[in-house]
Amino acid sequence: MNLYFNYLLILFKSQMQYRTSFWLLTAGQFLVPFSLFAGLYFLFERFGQIRGWDFFEVALCFAVIHMAFAVSECFARGFDTFSSLVRTGDFDRLLVRPRSTFLQVLGSKFEFTRFGRLFQSIIVLVWALSSLSIEWSVIKVMTLFLMVVSGVFIFTGIFMLAATLCFWTIQGLEVVNIFTDGGREMAQYPLNIYQKWVTRFFTFVIPFGTVNYLPLMYLLGKSEGNELLYMLTPAAGIVFILPCLLVWNLGVRHYRSTGS
C-alpha cells in the first residue's frame, strides 16, 4: 500500500510538469459526459419517462456509473493503456522486479485529469439526490457508496480482461470498447429498459446490474421482498474482480511462455 502511494506521488509529479495540458484535459473531461447528459435531459424533456423511470432516477444512475468509470479510469489506467506497455517491451521490465505484476501495472499510470469527469458526475449526483425524495438511512448511504465502489471494481476487472487480451494480440482491441465505453453507456440507464437477454448478460456475466439496477430499486423504494438482499448486491460486483485476476495471471503465464 505504501508502495502504491509512492507510485501515485511520482506520477502526480510527472503530470504536474505539464500544467497547461493538465488543466485543459481536466476541463475537457468535464465536458465529455456533459454532452451525454444534455442528450439524456433532452430525451426526457420530449418523452417524460423511460419504462417507468423518471428523469432524476435515471440521472442518479448516470451519476453513479460515470463516477465509477471516472475513478477506475484514473486509477486503473495502467490496465486501460496496457497495450503500449506490451508493444514497447516495457512489460519485461516489470517482470524483473520482485513485486506482483498486478500492483506494478496498476502503478504504471494514473490519469488525474479524470477528476474533471468525476466532478461533473458529482454535480449530477447532487442534483439528482436533492430532487428525489428518498428516505435516507445509514444503510441507504452505505448502499449508494457500495454502488460506486462496486462499479469501480467491475470497470477495473474489464480493463484487466482487455489488458490480458494484449498478451495474445494487440490488434482488434477495439472490441473491448463494447464492455468499457459500451458498458458505461449502457449502464447509465437502469438495466431493465433493455431486452431480457441484455439484462441477463449484464447481470450475470458482467454484473453491471448489481451496480445500477438492483440496489437502485432498493434505494428508490421500488424493491419487493428481502431488502437486505438488494442492498448486498453491490458486493457481488466486487467479487467480479476475482476471476479477472485469475485470467490476468493466466495471461502473464502465456506471455512468459511465448514472449510475444
Binding site: 509529479k13 517491451g89 516495457d90 517482470l95 513485486r99 512468459r256 511462455s257 514472449g259 510475444s260
Partner: protein, 325 residues
Amino acid sequence: MIAVEGLSKSFKVAKRSTGLRQATKALFFREHTTVNALNDLSFSINPGEIVGYIGPNGAGKSTTIKVMSGILVPDRGTCTIMGYTPWKDRVAYVKNIGVVFGQRSQLWWDVPVIDSFELLRDIYKVPDKEYKANLDLLIETLELSTFIKLPVRQLSLGQRMRCEIAASLLHSPKILFLDEPTIGLDAVSKIAVRKFIKTINLEKDVTIILTTHDMFDIEALADRVLLIGKGKLLYDGRLNELRSRFGSHKTITVDYRVMEKPIAISGAELLSWTPERCVMSVDTGKVTVSEVITQLSNQVDLLDVAIEARPIEEIIVQLYKEYQI
C-alpha cells in the same frame, strides 16, 4: 553460480505479405513459421566472471537473457542460478539480479533521477541503511551528483545510461545482466561506463553477463566470450584464444606510383585496389609480410607501406562467416 543445460525455445511467427492480393488472402488465411530461438544451449558461469555474450542480430541473445532473468519460460532445459530456477520463483529470484536494457529506460521520464531511485528502493524493499550506502557509492563512482536532481528527459544519453546502471544496482544484486549498455553512447561515455562495470565487478564481486555489438566493450571487459548463432553455442573460451586463432592475418596498405593491374600474390587476399593504392589481407601462416613487400617492390615503385594487426571487429566477422551465421 549459473548453470544452463539443454535450453530450447521456439516461437511462432506470422508471415506478413505485401501487395493488395496477398493482403486480401491474408484476411482469411495466415501462415506461421516456427523459429528456433534457442536450440539445446548449455554453459555455466562462475561467480565473479564477466562474460561477453555475442552473436549477430536474431541469434538468440536476448531470448537467453530473458530466460535467465525470469521473463521467459523455455520449452525445454534447465537453468539454475544461485539455487533458483528463474522462471519458477520469479519474485524471490529477481531480488538477486539487476537488469539493464540498453534500449529501454527504467527511470521515470519526467521526475528527478533521485525520485526514481527512491521508488526503486521501495519496490525492492531495500533497507534504508543499505540504500544509503549503495547510493553514496554509486553517486561517487559514477559521478552522478551534478545531475541527480534533474528530470531524466533533460539528461544526455551518457548521463542517462549511468543512471540506468546505478538504478539496477541499488538493491546490491549478485548478478548483473547488461543488454547493450553502450548503445548510442559517445566515446567518452563508453569509456566511463566500461570503467565502472569493471570497478563493480572487482569491488562488489558482481557477476556480469554482457551482450553487445561493440567488440571494444568485449575487449575492454570480458575475459570470456560466448558466441551464439542460430540458437546454438558456437564458441566458449578466452578472447585471446580467438585472437590467436584468427589474428594470424595482417592488413597491409600499400601506396605506389602506378600499378597497371592488380598483382596476385599467393597467401595474400586483395581487399581493394586502385592504380595508386591497394589493401591486402595477409595470412602470415602461408606467407610472411616481408615476402609480400619484396614481391610488390619488384614490380612497382612503392611510396608508402602500412601494416596493421587485424582488428577484433574483423575477427568476429570472420568468425560469423566461418560458422555461417
